[in-house]
Symmetry: C2
Subunit: 124 residues, 2 copies
């Protein structure tokens, strides 16, 4: 995996994002307060820190809507995006979030998992 952009603000392919110190709780909670975005975050968390192409998410929304959701997540600091050719690759900023808001992402992911299980028994 080409993750040499991670954490390097000078990387030419890296899309604009807040620094770890700039993460705002309201923005993080707002970004998570949507079922599609929550699912993206849960899938990235399930990928164990690996990166995923935007197109690799099978979600019931149009491409432009999905692009919007990824941007909200990136601007809130939940995910990092960098361009590779014509694709955008995504990683969860789990370490930055854990450092800034300890326990928050894990609690949300645990809650999301129980919700997904309730609403979609065969979701994962």
């Amino acid at each position: 995996m080409d993750q040499d952009c991670a954490g390097d603000p000078e990387c030419p392919g890296l899309l604009p994002e807040p620094t770890a110190a700039e993460l705002r709780l309201e923005a993080v909670l707002h970004a998570l307060a949507d079922p599609i975005r929550l699912r993206i975050v849960a899938e990235l968390a399930g990928a164990g820190g690996g990166e995923r192409n935007c197109l690799a998410f099978e979600l019931p929304v149009t491409k432009s809507t999905l692009t919007h959701h990824f941007r909200v997540l990136r601007e809130a600091g939940l995910i990092r995006q960098h361009r590779r050719g014509t694709s955008k690759m995504n990683t969860l900023r789990a370490a930055d979030l854990a450092a800034r808001f300890p326990g928050l992402l894990d609690a949300v992911l645990d809650a999301a998992e129980s919700c997904f299980e309730t609403s979609k028994p065969a979701a994962r």
Copy 2:
């Protein structure tokens, strides 16, 4: 304190609210994704489970805006409201939230506390 309405859906003064089983993660996160609502929740948590009159919150918003925020919190299931005379009394539904989404409220409150400290050193 007159808390005999707590948890009793038949109580005439109790305002409509979701049951514990009806709590939705997205609604809870959306309700928390606002600095005024976060402050209300933090103040109620700081009150140790006690009830507080809507008018007892000193927040930089108009009364009608405050009423809106309380309604969002109640409809998301974060707070319980019941009328007493011309007042509305508020309690945090900490136990319901902890049962449905373990660790979530605590993580958000911890994060909020660190944010309040950063932005307003003398806030509490």
